[in-house]
Amino acid sequence: MNNTNVLKKSSTKINEKSKKDKKLKDETKSNKFIQQIISPIAILIIWEILADLKLIDTRFFPAPSMIFHSLINLLTTGILLNDLSVSLFRIIGGFIVGAVPGLIIGLTMGLFPIIRNILDPIVAATYPIPKLALMPLIMIIFGLNDLEKIVVIAIGTFFIVLMNTAAGVINLDKIYMDVARNYGASKKDYYLTVALPGALPMIFTGLKLGMGMALLLIVAAEMNGASSGIGYRIWESYNIFDIPAMFVSFIIMSILGYVFTIILDLIEKLIIPWKHS
């Protein structure tokens, strides 16, 4: 009787304490938010003032209000959403077409030294070629269409994912292989219970870098032979000297990168709950 009472008391105490902790956390969180939002807002305000006073060249740096105006315009005409869906298709398509084989070949190279030895020279020879340098060749082979753009992005993603996945398997602490052997794991068991989960953190690093690469390459890929897309819009704004529209595209690219990072982080948290944060 007495005992449970004491227990209850102490547990309410703990509750109160955790409530206090939570409050503390919320406060620091909102503080942090305020601190972090100060500098972007300040820059926007100063930028607007400088533009209004003609202290900066608004041909190159249009005022935020002008950019906002252009954004509304692109939105209401439906151009922006169309650009976005076209580019998303190419980015995600290229990302998947590149990342999946990159992951599979990377894992295979990490797991089987023979395959690693055979493929290493090819990878080492082709990896350093800047992906942009390959673009004209890809354009000749595939023509100027969606497929060609997907291939450009896929090649960039492929190598990054492959390198990181292979490194993830190879750099796994050898002791885990000893444990697997000592506890009777077959080769297949080893791959599934040790190599693959052990390489996951590096695989995700590869996927994140691959996504960054995809965003970089979409702009280049949409420079030629495109009639829509975020990257195309940037080049088109250049041609018709519509700088505010160009800035709108920058913002969209930045948001895209941010959203992709958040999505990959979320998936990573779900798949790798054991990773220290």
Binding site: N182, Y183, P197
Partner: protein
């Protein structure tokens, strides 16, 4: 007369690093009988871990022969408690302990029962679903011990398994180990730096010389069982053996 479980003849292991040859241990010859409890004691770097790894089949010896008798095919021959714990960061406590059983494809509910039993024994019940990064060093060590116990091998190879534990937990686990050993009739080979621990646990202690390790002496510990730590520490027999091993070990360490 008990059967011979492990027999080593002139066992030697050398590593080749670039052009240097490092001898981990040499000319180890000994006979371990079925169900005996052995401790290997020796200065750091004398080759204890390497010897265990050779016994576990994770390294092959450079010279000499090993004979190990595998009696029951339904049981694994040996399971090792690694010095580095080496529990998998991507598995929770339960799955880490179940690892050997899963690899042997035992029935899931049988695995659950065995795992729960050892989780309880090791005092890990509240952490059943925790991941290693959420555990303290001593808890990780207990997980790796439970993994080996749960696997129910004929030979338990334990590499300084209690090194990271506080005195209280150490004594508890030492007693638990002795209980399991007495009940199961397993052969245990146990590496430790603690002379006290070695005397309390073993039938035989192999003392090794400093690097490269050879057998310096093999001690018979004829203290009757079941053993109680308090009684043993205050017995004159304990004091004699302790003194013997201590002086011998000190001699090895002060050479270097």
């Amino acid at each position: 007369m008990k059967d011979v479980k492990v027999e080593l003849k002139d066992l030697t292991k050398k590593f080749k690093i670039k052009k240097n040859i490092i001898t981990a241990f040499e000319d180890i010859s000994l006979q371990i009988k079925e169900g005996e409890f052995w401790c290997f004691v020796g200065p750091s770097g004398c080759g204890k871990t390497t010897l265990l790894r050779v016994l576990a089949g994770l390294e092959s010896p450079t010279d000499g022969t090993i004979y190990i008798k595998h009696v029951d095919d339904s049981k694994p021959l040996n399971s090792m408690v690694f010095q580095e714990h080496a529990i998998f960061p991507w598995m929770d406590v339960k799955n880490n302990i179940a690892y050997g059983l899963k690899m042997r494809k035992l029935k899931p509910n049988l695995i659950d029962d065995i795992v729960d039993f050892y989780i309880d024994k090791m005092g890990l019940t509240p952490f059943k679903h925790a991941y290693p990064h959420q555990l303290s060093g001593g808890m990780k060590q207990r997980v790796s011990i439970a993994r080996a116990f749960a696997n129910d091998p004929e030979i338990l190879l334990m590499d300084e398994p209690f090194a990271n534990l506080d005195e209280q937990n150490r004594v508890l686990l030492q007693q638990e180990l002795l209980k399991i050993w007495e009940k199961s009739g397993k052969t245990v080979i146990f590496v430790t730096h603690s002379i006290d621990e070695a005397i309390f646990l073993s039938d035989k202690i192999m003392l090794m010389t400093r690097h490269p390790g050879k057998i310096k002496n093999i001690y018979d510990i004829n203290i009757k069982r079941p053993r109680v730590i308090e009684e043993i520490r205050s017995s004159p027999q304990y004091a004699d053996i302790f003194q013997d091993i201590w002086l011998s070990l000190r001699q090895e360490v002060s050479y270097s």
